[in-house]
Amino acid sequence: MNMPLLKVEDIHKRYGNEEVLRGVSFEVNRGETKVFIGPSGTGKSTLLRCVNQLTPPDKGQVFLEGTEVTHHKSDINRLRASIGFVFQDFNLFAHLTAMQNVSIGPTKVTRMHKEQAQARALAELERVGLGDKANAYPAQLSGGQQQRVSIARALAMDPKLILFDEPTSALDPELIGEVLEVMIELAREGMTMLCVTHEMGFARSVANEIIFMEHGVIVEQGPPQQMFTNPKHQRTGEFLRKISELYGETER
């Protein structure tokens, strides 16, 4: 079967007078990792939110395995349950332990049995290296640990893909590595991922494609190798050089 896992068509989104997204289309196949880059305010985060309808687009369509997510009659809660979302500022549920944060999805959304959900939650916490923090509350964890819990929270829902919205931007530099390690591991295991991030080391090591956006449109997209060494647009090259300087370019 050749149908892409996710198909995004001609997404437009306007806030007041400003058109943040001006017709964005792309496709993602199962197991692919795509990285969105671009200057701030170019609609990358808005685009991710349009995919799972946290921000409904004004125009355009999103298909997940052929099912139209944007259709007004679609069961959006059910669709969202199969699309993981990792936020820049984690948004862990403050009143719940790490374990409860991860198990609340399976118990309240997919109605998994409580003990089963807890076993699953513990397994996911161990997968992100936090099995020993199961009973800690978010405020007792470092930013990097919180972000890993939020990745575990997404994983516990058996998502078809995970959207990462600048997952390391709110982190202290020394905590970024532990989150990227988890993400790299996921990508290698074949998870389908869409990431808004400026971590070029991450992009180089696992991304199938880098998508450069500016002013609400996709300027250029291609495999990391080509984007870094032989970009078609001058703007792409400039931007890549700039963020590589800023963020360093360690291979991870």
Binding site: N52, L54, N77, R78, L79, R80, A81, S82, I83, F85, F87, D89, N91, L92, F93, A94, H95, I104, G105, K108, V109, T110, A136, Y137, P138, A139, Q140, L141, S142, G143, G144, Q146, S150, R153, M157, A170, L171, D172, L175
Partner: protein, 218 residues
């Protein structure tokens, strides 16, 4: 005799607080998440029941149905009238708490696939109600005293019993009113201690430390 009457005040207090809590929570949720129509209705409701003096409402609820040949018990009328008044105030305590919770909490819940109602019940309210306890203890102390208003519809509560003592033994009047005052001191103290304990018990580890607090690491 007075202690026995005090039990009636406590009974009324608990039932009116329960009414106020349930209705107040619903009103607060509708004000924040209800959209235009339900939101406006909730605001009107809150405005009405915060405006009418409890005594007036009590008369309306107790004597109103009588005009139509219905009778309503003293206890029930006091519970409804004072409970609705309290719901107006409680709703604002809860609304403030709900609005103080970061919008990211709702967003994360929706991103997991929860419906709005589910997210409110499982994510928003458990946090908001915790934050409400200090403000709520104020409302608790207020309505504690309001229970004596049920006096006017003939509910045999504390003040009415003290008054009955005065009628029979005028010499004991001051003593009985002082006793009423002391009973209220004790009740309010006990209630607030219990709420303080509840606040402590439900405190989220690492959060809500008194005064300045350093959040996380970021």
């Amino acid at each position: 005799m007075l202690l026995k009457a005090a039990l009636l005040n406590v009974e009324l207090l608990l039932s009116l607080l329960a009414v106020g809590f349930v209705v107040g929570t619903i009103v607060a949720v509708l004000q924040v998440y209800g959209g235009r129509v339900l939101g406006v209705l909730a605001f009107v409701f809150e405005w009405v029941f915060r405006s009418i003096p409890p005594l007036v409402l009590l008369f309306l609820v107790y004597f109103g149905p009588e005009r139509f040949g219905l009778s309503i018990s003293r206890f029930l009328s006091a519970t409804i009238a004072l409970g609705l008044c309290s719901s107006g105030y409680q709703s604002q305590i809860f609304r403030g708490a709900i609005q103080s919770i970061s919008s990211g909490q709702m967003m994360a819940a929706r991103a997991l696939g929860m419906s709005r109602t589910r997210a409110i019940a499982s994510v928003i309210l458990p946090q908001a109600l915790r934050l409400s306890i200090p403000g709520w203890s104020n409302e608790f102390s207020g309505v504690m005293k309001d229970t004596t208003l049920a006096y006017v519809v003939g509910y045999n509560e504390l003040l009415r019993s003290a008054r009955a003592i005065m009628d029979r033994h005028y010499d004991a009047a001051m003593l009985s009113f002082l006793t009423v005052a002391i009973i209220f001191l004790v009740l309010t103290y006990t209630g607030n201690r219990a709420l303080g304990w509840l606040e402590e018990r439900t405190r989220i580890p690492g959060l809500q430390v008194a005064g300045w607090s350093e959040e996380g690491h970021s």
